[in-house]
Symmetry: C2
């Protein structure tokens, strides 16, 4: 689950026919792709995490730094441990794996300079999803747990949340995994509706228990 | 979280002074230790998972076999992925790392033959905990997620649930990890009380979303 809070919900996406397929209009194209993050992406990942903390009003709980992220991510092969898919957008087509939507108006990204990842090709980082393997003893199969899913504000309500979540689900199927799981706030009815439309079941009866901070540290005492 | 259900709660443990320390009485000693499971333990692990499914009345959801467990567990170094601690008990002392409790009456284990792991030394498997790393982006630190914790019926209410959970917490602290998390059923007030006494916070506002079965499989379709 998200650090001290669930992943912010992707805004309810437009119909797939609008979000993912070409329409007859060709104004203001926005190409997008999802790719595996690398250590070189840490500065952008750090800024996305900070924005997520602001969005969740939990900046006081966010102590991640570029250095601590670099030390704890990318230490194993993709999908075997903590894995990040980055969402990139561009007004120009990507060489491959791109999708395109056409916007009514040109998109103004006030933080374009901050999140640019390829200046030559006008590519900007728009969001990310962090996930890792979990395990079901009943299925005797791994699955994926989505810790965080975040799309920057000006790119919301365009189907990118769905695109990121679908990318994880697709990867799970590809690997023969049994489940994809994440958490949502119980009052976030829009997010719950969106997830249910994507095929997820929301389990109302479970509660998350967390042992952290001093309450966890005391278990380091050999006397316990 | 547990396969289709949270881990069964360890029964409320006796006071640590009773559970973990030697009392003045020396009748009916029950020595115990926690050790890393190995591939050779799969038959016992499979039986424990099956008992857990029976306990949770979810046998219809349990498709794990010895073969599928062997194929998906023990594929990486301990603690880097899915990891199992086994709880073993014996009326005789272990060479090391053992704890002892003294029982009012000799303990009758009706399934001793099924769960014996060392006939010479009279060692029996009494429970297990399965856990794996998770990740907090806010902390930029891994943690552990406890998928299942199970103690066989005749060994409950003796502090073994606490002992297994403590072992995971201790390992987390040893590795500099930030959290230990698991789930509990909202109506299981005894378990919630027990976990809170162990220092855990129960997060009431989160709900678990799960994409599985045909709803997940459809994401394998390239058209999506």
């Amino acid at each position: 689950m998200a650090a001290a809070a669930p992943p912010p919900p992707p805004a309810p996406a437009p119909e797939p026919s609008i979000a993912f397929q070409e329409s007859s209009r060709r104004d203001n194209p926005l190409f997008s792709r999802i790719r595996l993050a690398t250590p070189a992406d840490v500065p952008h990942i750090h800024k996305l995490i900070h924005q997520m903390a602001v969005f969740e009003r939990l900046t006081d709980l966010c102590s991640a730094t570029e250095s601590s992220l670099s030390a704890t991510l990318f230490n194993s092969a993709p999908f075997t441990s903590f894995t990040i898919f980055l969402l990139e957008v561009s007004p120009k087509p990507f060489p491959s794996s791109d999708r395109v939507i056409y916007l009514d108006h040109p998109l103004i990204d006030p933080q374009r300079e901050t999140f640019i990842s390829d200046n030559v090709n006008d590519v900007t980082v728009a969001g990310f999803v962090l996930f890792f393997p979990n395990y079901s003893t009943f299925l005797a199969k791994p699955g994926f747990y989505i810790e965080d899913l975040f799309v920057r504000e000006c790119y919301r309500r365009k189907g990118f949340g769905r695109m990121l979540l679908s990318a994880v689900a697709k990867q799970a199927v590809k690997m023969g995994y049994g489940r994809v799981e994440w958490v949502v706030l119980d009052w976030n009815v829009n997010a719950i509706k969106f997830y249910e439309e994507m095929g997820a079941k929301v389990h109302d009866e479970w509660r998350i228990c967390r042992l952290t901070g001093p309450a966890l540290e005391k278990y380091g005492d050999d006397a316990i």
